[in-house]
Amino acid sequence: MKQEKSIVVEHHNFQGEYRILRLAAPEVGPLVRPGQFLHLLIPHLSDRILRRPFSIYKADTSGVSILYKPVGRGTESMIPLRPGDAVDIIGPLGNGFPVLGNNKLPVLVAGGYGNAALYLKAKESPEKGVAFFGGRTAEDILCIEEFQVLGWDVRPATDDGSLGTKGLVTAAFDPWMAEQDVESLELFVCGPNPMLKAMGDRAIENDFTAWLSMDENMACGVGACLTCVIKRKTTDGWEWARCCKDGPVFESREILWEESEPRNTQKTRKKD
């Protein structure tokens, strides 16, 4: 974990509303493992004091990239960033995804910016399995070709049927799962909480492993403030675990879902 004044190298529209921001960050870049995130101080956002967390989409020794969607005051304020601008980042943060178990078939499941969070995992994974990507429309499904180039079998699902299966990601996943040797599956999931819960439930029912990258509001990002806690099961009940430090990735069996309807913290609409 480092704090670094990174420099914008590239910043432009990626797809739909998503934008890509590439940062020169020679201190942070080399440390990144798949599933980790950055805590970014948005420049000139002088009436907001908190950093914003973003999954690390790509990283190498020279720096990092993120994919983001302007959804609020902070992300909107990032739009004018230009090459050469300085951006203060802390990272890499969180423990990221574990390495694939022996004799497991890796399955990626993503929604929203989850695709970005899974790219490094997809790249690193020695085995290339199946990737289920969900979104509202075709426009919301990011990076399909990139995953295909890496050798993944990508199966999109869209609410409006504009790409792949019509429906939630589960509509594509469930029939596929029915034909698998389920115990050999190992899932890496990043998306809105309802998707995480749906996949976690399937993992528990069907006895496979599912690593869920949890999305909680954060203040410090380093484990100090106890904002981002989720309930983690213990032998005799539960304890709080910090998403930023103990997560964001947890195995499905660790998580005690609080509400019948998990709160979707992935914002989709703009508001101030």
């Binding site: 004091i49 908190l50 203060d88 802390i90 410090c220 403030c225 106890l226």
Partner: protein, 304 residues
């Protein structure tokens, strides 16, 4: 050219007047990768109660215009857990450790001091009498001079180490509490805790915090904190640890001119973990530029 940055709070010597505010810096290890802990005047840890506690449900924080609300609600490992999990780490550093303590009852305060007092690494106690986010104790002790005094007396009876009551800001006469702290044998006072506040989501009609209300911290409260420090400074001879919205060296200097012997960097750690070190360097530069010999020359020099 060289200036003496060190200050004393009772028997505790701080190599410079800058600590971190309780609850914004974890227990030490969390920021150790980013901040050279040995540079700090002291490390003040998150509030410790006698037992392990869970704190409040989530959401626990909310960003407001220019600041934030928190209702973390004092989760923590308890005194025993703190000793086991964090003291070994903290003892590696050459920095005094101020343990912020709290209790649901008066007795709790005594208990936690009893449990911690044998530990050499614990340098002082900051007594949280002003947490806006726990139902029992906390704030109630901080807004009534009688129970305020009784907690301090009780803690005083249990330890020789410096004790530093942390005052509630939501009182009409902070001077009365400063004086009460002095009379009860405190070694210093801390001002201020976050200010009781609230935000409501106008779409859902729900409070933005699960706890409904929380404490406002960060830049918005600085002018309030400066006045409280100045008021307390004129009411007591105790040293004051000033805090509330310190983001830049200039903010810390303003607190010191108002009467703070030391300062704490709080919410700013979230924005920029290098704040405390920047503040230390900036205070030193200012003292040198102004020709002061020691930090103490600046304290309370406001021409008012």
């Amino acid at each position: 050219m060289s200036v003496d940055l060190s200050i004393k709070i009772g028997s505790m010597v701080m190599k410079n007047p800058v600590t971190v505010a309780s609850g914004t810096f974890g227990y030490g290890p969390e920021y150790a990768d980013l901040v050279d802990l040995n540079r700090l005047g002291a490390i003040t840890v998150k509030g410790i109660g006698p037992e392990e506690t869970l704190g409040n449900p989530t959401p626990r924080t909310f960003e407001t215009r220019g600041g934030m609300l928190n209702a973390i609600g004092l989760p923590g490992p308890g005194a025993k857990g703190f000793i086991d999990k964090y003291l070994p780490f903290l003892s590696q550093y050459d920095v005094p450790v101020i343990v912020n303590i709290w209790g649901k009852s008066m007795e709790d305060y005594g208990k936690v001091v009893e449990m911690l007092d044998g530990e050499d690494t614990v340098s002082a106690y900051e007594i949280n009498l002003s947490c806006p986010n726990v139902k029992e104790g906390g704030s109630a002790f901080g807004t009534d001079t009688d129970s305020f005094s009784r907690v301090i007396e009780l803690v005083r009876g249990k330890t020789q180490k410096p004790i530093i009551p942390k005052l509630a800001p939501n009182v009409s006469d902070i001077g009365a509490f400063a004086k009460a702290a002095e009379n009860c044998g405190a070694d210093a006072i801390s001002i201020m805790n976050s200010y009781p506040a609230m935000a409501i989501n106008i779409d859902t009609l729900e409070p933005e915090l699960a706890n409904r209300t929380g404490g406002l911290s960060g830049p918005p409260i600085k002018p309030i904190a400066i006045k409280l420090v100045w008021d307390a400074f004129r009411a007591t001879t105790l040293p004051i640890i000033g805090m509330g919205g310190i983001y830049e060296p200039e903010d810390a200097i303003e607190f010191m001119i108002a009467g703070a012997t030391a300062v704490a960097v709080g919410t700013a750690n979230f924005t920029d973990p290098s704040t405390a070190v920047r503040v230390i360097d900036g205070v030193e530069r200012y003292l040198v530029a102004k020709g002061y010999d020691a930090t103490s020359d600046l304290v309370g020099t406001v021409k008012a």
